[in-house]
């Protein structure tokens, strides 16, 4: 073997080693990145700001509203405040009057409020609606399917959906009047 050949061989070996090590490291790095990303998104069934709001259809039970049933996709082009609540939930009681006070004004501006009730019985909801004089539609999620679809945790939980059907903001917990109005302005059709 001549000196040149030896040098050539050595060079090749070094290159092979570099390729080998690089590819192993790349594979490992990819695995780590995958593990981290998928873990941070482990709750990826929860819809977050920027996601398309999944469609659903529910019976509407408020006597103050003429809709029989509501389907989210019917409100394309309108801003939608999708609120999950229950009659037994104190913070929900606190924010309902705010929602009602802003509803007439913002309904005219192209916003719909859908207050999905997670109650067990319609009666409790009816009485609540009467007590608070709510006029916006109250869809009733009797099988908890929509609750599971949106992975609703502690209520109240509110999704502000823009006219394009994308979630603009997710708010867990009760809203103050000012914050509520701010969010409504964000999703108001231009």
């Amino acid at each position: 073997m001549s000196l040149d050949q030896i040098k050539e061989k050595k060079k090749k070996k070094k290159r092979n080693r570099l390729v080998f090590r690089t590819s192993i490291l790349v594979v490992l790095l990819a695995a780590v990145v995958f593990a981290l990303v998928s873990n941070l998104k482990a709750d990826n069934t929860i819809y977050r700001a920027g996601d398309e709001a999944p469609d659903f259809k529910l019976q509407q039970i408020s006597n103050n509203n003429e809709l029989e049933s509501v389907q989210l996709s019917d409100f394309k082009g309108k801003g939608v405040m999708l609120n999950f609540w229950g009659t037994w939930c104190e913070p929900c009681k606190a924010e309902m009057p705010y929602m009602q006070s802003l509803y007439p004004e913002y309904h005219d501006k192209g916003i719909e409020i859908l207050a999905v009730s997670l109650d067990n019985t319609e009666l409790a909801v009816d009485r609540f609606i009467d007590e608070y004089d709510l006029t916006f539609p109250v869809p009733f999620d009797s099988t908890s399917e929509v609750e599971d679809l949106y992975k609703v945790g502690p209520i109240p939980s509110t999704f502000f959906i823009n006219p394009e059907g994308k979630i603009e903001e997710v708010v867990n917990g009760a809203l103050s009047l000012e914050r509520l109005e701010g969010y409504l302005q964000d999703i108001q059709p231009k």
Binding site: A31, F34, A35, N39, N120, R127
Partner: protein
């Protein structure tokens, strides 16, 4: 550094400690394995060049050599262990008890544990095991495992595959087992060979130099073991994917209409036909004493369930046809299975109200003779009841789980009929004069004190609620495979030993040396058996114990 040419003519790669061919210690590299001041040679990885320690030119090589260090690996493990321990000092966020003052971690930890709780929370230990940095440490351990293994396995594998029978005298004399025999006949050598073969040694001869070797595969044990560990880590990573793992908890009430099983995308519904809680009999001698001491002891938790598959539906929430696909009993440790899901009995809640029957009687009637009765179905209470005998009862307020809130106002604590209470407006027959009554369990309040009619609870029915876990875990076979390979590796390295015996012919006799990775007593036995019937000197154990 340059490649090193040994006296025997073999060209060794940089960083070699013992010549790959003849085993002669390479001058200038002995510090690498700490052979400098020792008589015996360190036989770790057979003195091969671990590449990581020699080439450090590119950034890739630098990363490689960082992870190939066992020291780094051990430190990573120590850091992970310490972090894991710290994470157990206070409960993780998901285990903050439901009855805590606040379940908000920013309040709970400081409130409950003071300044240490605050630090614990601020450093993010309340969500340790899913935090990115904890995962990074675990991932780095995985990387270190892969690279450490590769960096050692490949040179060791090559060295053992290409090893020569002919070894340098200094290699033999610096082995732990060594002997010199001045005069040995050919017959004796042949007998030695036969004896070695009998003990399943593989024999390689080169110009009278002899290498007898057995159980080399035992050296691969640790690497097989590492492959198992890596598969386990991989399984843990994959488990976060919804395809591999899903677990949901669902409360199902007896006789409630089917509800969606969470996590199944509205595809499956579940119904609770009956929840059964059985206790051990007091009459049974075996349990008598325990029951006297502890009270009732459950012997069975069981839910009779029906699972439905939903028909096609255009959009979630829409009504769909339900087709029953499973009718089964779920008991403790006896889950029910459908599709890919398994349903486990995990909790229960007794005695929610199903229905309540009320009677109306005159307030003044001490006999409480019922003038009229009506039954409220708590799953679907009516807004008003028109009764047979002309009474009309309007349900003005309904509290499924009655309590007085902070302001003393009646409210419902939960959504469930655990402690139902009502405000009834009673219209007597042919009258528009309303009487208001508040009725609850053990409560009957007449707000005005002037009511002519009184409502009483005549009867009620109750139901139980069953808590079921619905899950699937497709990563388990992978964990099993990893654990099995792990165990194979342990056994492979533990119960076999890699034994080698070298014979180096001298003028009239031989030099003999032996090496094993463990169980020196065993290899001495092998050698004793091999030299039986010959004059060959038994090897001497030259082990030098480090001075304390």
């Amino acid at each position: 550094m340059r490649e090193i040419k040994c006296e025997c003519g073999h060209v060794n790669p940089v960083g070699t400690v013992l010549c790959e061919a003849c085993g002669r210690p390479i001058e200038g590299n002995q510090h690498l394995d700490g052979n400098n001041n020792k008589k015996l040679l360190n036989m770790r990885y057979d003195g091969t060049a671990r590449r990581s320690q020699t080439y450090n030119k590119s950034i890739i090589d630098k990363i490689w050599s960082f992870f190939s260090s066992v020291k780094v690996g051990v430190w990573l493990i120590v850091i992970a262990l310490v972090a894991s321990m710290v994470g157990t000092i206070f409960p993780q966020e998901m285990y903050i008890p439901a009855n805590a003052i606040s379940r908000n971690p920013s309040i709970y930890y400081e409130d409950q544990y003071g300044i240490f709780g605050l630090i614990f929370y601020q450093l993010g230990f309340h969500n340790l095991y899913t935090s990115w940095w904890y995962l990074v440490i675990i991932a780095l351990i995985g990387i270190s495992l892969v690279i450490c293994s590769l960096d050692r396995f490949i040179p060791l594998f090559k060295a053992l595959r290409h090893q020569k029978a002919k070894k340098h005298i200094s290699f033999l004399s610096r082995q732990r087992l060594y002997s010199e025999t001045k005069v040995v006949s050919n017959e004796e050598i042949n007998l030695l060979k036969t004896n070695l073969k009998k003990q399943r040694f593989k024999i390689k001869v080169e110009n009278g130099h002899l290498l007898a070797e057995k159980n080399r595969f035992s050296r691969w044990g640790p690497y097989v073991n590492h492959i198992g560990l890596i598969i386990i880590l991989l399984a843990a990573i994959l488990r976060v994917l919804p395809f591999f793992y899903m677990e949901e908890y669902v409360w199902v009430r007896e006789e409630q209409k089917p509800i969606v099983i969470p996590g199944t995308k509205g595809q499956y519904y579940i119904e609770n036909k009956d929840f059964i809680l059985e206790t051990h009999s007091e009459e049974d001698d075996r349990f008598e004493a325990a029951i006297a001491q502890e009270g009732m002891i459950p012997s069975n938790f069981q839910t009779d369930i029906v699972v439905y598959q939903s028909g096609e539906k255009s959009v979630p929430g829409a009504e769909a046809e339900l087709e029953p696909i499973l009718d089964d009993s779920v008991r403790m440790n006896k889950p029910a299975k459908f599709d890919k899901y398994t349903v486990y009995q995990s909790g229960y809640q007794l005695n929610e109200f199903t229905s309540m029957t009320f009677k109306i009687h005159e307030t003044s009637d001490s006999e409480e003779v019922a003038l009229d009765t009506f039954t409220v179905d708590l799953a679907a209470p009516e807004p008003e009841y028109n009764l047979e005998n002309g009474f009309r009862v309007v349900v003005d307020k309904y509290y499924p789980d009655y309590y007085l809130d902070n302001n003393g106002i009646p409210a419902s604590e939960t959504n469930f009929p655990r402690n139902p209470a009502y405000v009834f407006i009673v219209y007597p027959p042919n009258s528009d004069v309303a009487e208001v009554s508040f009725v609850g369990i053990g409560r009957n309040i007449d707000a005005t004190g002037e009511n002519n009619y009184k409502l009483g609870i005549e009867d009620f029915e109750m139901h139980d609620v069953s808590g079921l876990t619905v899950k699937y875990d497709r990563s388990l076979p992978l964990f099993g495979l990893g654990a099995a390979i792990f165990m194979i590796g342990v056994i492979q390295g533990m119960y076999w030993q890699h034994r080698r015996i070298w014979i180096h012919p001298t003028e009239n006799g031989i030099l003999m040396a032996g090496h094993t990775n463990k169980n020196w007593f065993g290899i001495k036995k092998d050698i004793e058996n091999a030299i039986e019937g010959t004059n060959i000197t038994m090897v001497e154990d030259q082990q030098e114990l480090d001075e304390k």
